[in-house]
Amino acid sequence: MTTADYERNMVLSNVDYKVVGTRPVRHDGADKVTGRAIYGADFDASGLLHGKILRSPHAHAKILSIDTSKAEALDGVKAVATASDFPNTGDKSVDLGEDTTKLKWLRDNILASDKALYTGHAIAAVAAVNPHVAEEALALIEVKYEALDPVMTTQEAMSSGASILHDGLTTQELGEDTGKVSNVASHFQHVKGDVQKGFSEADVIIEREYDTKTVHQGYIEPHNGTALWSPDGRLHVWCSTQGSFVVRDSLSDLLGIPVSRIRVTPTEIGGGFGGKIPIYVEPVAAILSKKTGAPVKIVMSRKETFEGSGPTPGSNIKIKLGAKSDGTITAAHAWMAMEAGAYPGSPVGAAAQCVFSTYELENALIDGYDVVVNKPKTAAYRAPGAPNAAFGMEQALNELAAKLGMDPIDIRLKNVAVEGTRRPDGPVFRRIGAKEVLEAMRDHPHYQTAKESGHGRGIAIGFWFNIGFDSACNIAVNKDGSINLTEGSTDIGGSRTSIAMHAAEVLGIPVEDVRPSVVDTDTIGFTAVTGGSRTTFATGWAAYEAAQDVKTQSIERAASIWDVDSDSLQMEDGVISSKTDSELKMTFKELASQMSDTGGGITGRAAVNPKGVGGSFCGNIVDVSVDDETGKVTIERFTCVQDVGKAIHPSYVEGQMQGGSVQGIGWALNEEYFMNDQGNMANSSLLDYRMPTSLDLPMIDTVIVEVANPGHPFGVRGVGEANIVPPTPAIANAVSDATGNIMTQLPLTPGAVLDSGK
């Protein structure tokens, strides 16, 4: 592979700040490179017991009986739990951080009551003196099942005569309950304009069907949780989670105790990507702790993580596009069915918010189907649903461009969404950077350099809307002018530093003078999950507001020292000064040293739910080579271009872009849940679930585009997700370019690529 002579990682910026936009070392860095940081599985407590979970060997079965007596009798076993140990807290709708579900479904997913709905579904649990004894005890639990036919894909689940997962599940058709028992939980539509008219006006029509497989987030740290149910009725849980408050609130719903009696301490977390938003082992550990009076730790194995946590769905997608001969899209129809897994709630709704949102379309129709199948309940995975949708849409658009003889970037620019564009699902865009991303791609040396002979080149662009939600932040000023900042967003990739940078910018102090901490649910106001690309946006904003609070109080304190009106003072670059009297000047540090004598300490606080969310667009240019005898695809060069609004910490933004790109590469080339005839995952190990290794990749070049989000004080949009959307179609387009064959299925395994020519 040749390396072009250009700057690999570029920032296309237009506003400069003092701290924002710099690249300091993260505050938790030293702990993480020396092995001192405490992750969930590292947590220890006096008298700790170890829990293990028995899981269903059947993809679909009635549970006839569970006999735990032999397990309970084993030496070293302290307690056994089943679904019958949950208190009867009825059924209702519960908030899961990014979506909602029914309490019964949430409870049944944690420990199955009447039916096992996927291989790996938790059935019972044991607490014992060590993990080996707990595991031996699992083998002594006798479960009688009545095996049922498994339903593994949307096509199977939607076909007439399909085995039914839930007797009580009836299809919601365009918002109305049909009363019809089915595996289709819902069908919804978004309509804009008149697609029939649009297609009738088209000079060219492309119509194609695409399939994608179930894939996993693949975080390296398995799920874990430790619970201590104290005799005073208080429950304390330590776990790796993307949302400590969601864990707390879910535990309250499941266990029937008030949130005020539950404290969740988020440990350091070893990756999540959406998969650590739901709870799995925490309530089980809590029940076992209540039964034993001791702290109980449960750590999933890798196999359990694949089979018993939430992947992102397989999908069946049909895209139809019509265009005028000049490339103007006249109509677009997306038909998308996504696997929810065992309980309703696939990301098809989010997919519908993304599938056409890069484009200004006069006529569009989106059909979405949420379908239950005998696989683990899906969870969020980095822009959930959007990569599936883009795999279809961005390939169909390339076919359209090819048919019209247009450059694939030109056809996108011809139809690109801009400020004022109304998405087919309703919202009207404020200032967005789709056009700027496409222009940066077009102008990039990668696109401007001819591909090497024999290589294929593909491009694609993707969208994620990002979210706001609640965040809280407290700041305490220390006597030396440093500040302690506490917040509730678990830090998966350096966010405590990007959040601290917001406060440092406002107060004009070095970010090293900020000590940020992620604290437990007793210690900070409600903070929503680390997800939806919201953390730097919303918790950063809370830090901004808390720092503004400190700033205002500092000015008032200085005004009282100088006995002047606070309106006459200003604070810039860490110095409080008079707007009129040049003699009156004092650094923030000096003021801090006088806090005690001038009214006591200064603390700032903020709780926000910002509405100015700005969506993010991301595009890829990718060159591949294909071994024409084996079908193996090699990524030769990869460029990722993303509008992030404002990169608070450009290195961490690049890291998000590179990480999302490579997860997308894995999804494109090799990753899938390979299910056998019985509905069991055949490749539930990191050997056979082939995530990319370092040797499978080139460097991932990044271009940070900064089209400031008007809805954030520094212009932040959120960067975590949009970057996983374009890789699958960009790579498919590149492979099509190299082989001349259309790629309608993921993953593009060597065998599939070879077969595509047949």
Binding site: H132, T630, L687, T693, L754
Partner: protein, 292 residues
């Protein structure tokens, strides 16, 4: 994992004695990179109560070469010692093809070719290569030692002709002589850390522009690694060139009896047998003609 006992054998006799007294429930362990996982996941084919460490037995750590005896590889010699060994580099460079791709760096610090053979996976990356080098295994048991050609060791998936009271002491590769070239390649979807979809280990002896001897052995296309006699007969006696190599590759495709699974369909694997055998033979010829 269920309870196991651990024994540290210091001599071949001691190891054999422990195995003999265990009622078939003891397993020798060298690198342990397969055995420990199998015990952990309760692989029914590896039901052991006792693990016998054999890494402290001198004969199992031998890595020596002489012109008349060839290369002796102790059963517990880890991969990294093999690909860093001057004699291997000088006389058996193709052996490095396998030793450097079994697992990753960390696995190669522990895993041995002997263990790979005893593990008898259909996909074992060293086995076709050892076959291509005409390897002979030395086994020790209660009744002394015996020798078995490597290609006869594996009898089924995770099954070998090695008795439950026997251990593999070493593998001998005869001196390949002049005009010898070998190669092992495998196809995997990733570039490392993967199980062979198909593996091909080949060797040729060339004299006077003709193939005088050849070996073709395949992994992952049958319950055990297999030899392909028709490929050998397609080569031996023929002039070096694309024609016989293509015939041998076609024979490999014909001989393969793969299954369809998560790593590939049977049809795809058969196709790969042709591709990999051809590619491996071309490299082997190149090496033979280049001297090594």
């Amino acid at each position: 994992m269920k309870w196991i006992d651990y024994e540290n054998a210091k001599t071949v006799d001691e190891a054999v004695k422990i195995l003999s007294q265990s009622g078939g429930k003891a397993r020798p362990m060298a690198g342990g990179t397969d055995l420990i996982v199998q015990l952990r996941v309760k692989d029914p084919r590896v039901d052991a109560d006792v693990v016998v460490n054999v890494k402290d037995i001198p004969e199992l750590n031998e890595l020596s070469y002489s012109a008349d005896k060839g290369l002796t590889i102790g059963a517990a010699v880890p991969c990294h010692e093999i690909y860093n060994d001057a004699n291997v580099i000088a006389h058996y460079p193709a052996l490095i093809d396998s030793a450097s791709l079994i697992g990753g760096t960390q696995i190669q610090g522990r895993a041995s070719l002997g263990g790979n053979l005893c593990n008898a996976a259909p996909s074992g990356d060293s086995i076709p290569n050892l076959v291509a080098h005409n390897g002979v295994a030395t086994l020790a048991g209660p009744n002394g030692t015996r020798e078995v050609a490597v290609e006869d060791v594996c009898t089924g998936p995770r099954q070998t002709c090695i008795g439950k009271d026997e251990i593999l002491v070493s593998i001998n590769l005869p001196n390949p002589g002049d005009g010898f070239g070998a190669n092992y390649i495998r196809f995997i979807p990733r570039n490392e850390m993967d199980i062979a979809v198909v593996g091909a280990g080949v060797s040729v002896n060339i004299a006077g522009g003709k193939f005088t001897a050849a070996k073709v052995s395949l992994a992952s296309v049958a319950p055990t690694p297999i030899s392909v006699p028709d490929a050998i007969s397609a080569l031996v006696g023929e002039s070096v060139g694309d024609g016989p190599i293509q015939k041998a590759a076609n024979a490999a495709k014909e001989a393969a009896k793969p299954i369809s699974d998560m790593r590939g369909t049977a049809e795809y694997r058969k196709h790969l047998c042709e591709v990999l055998t051809r590619r491996a033979l071309n490299t082997a010829v190149e090496r033979a003609q280049g001297g090594k």
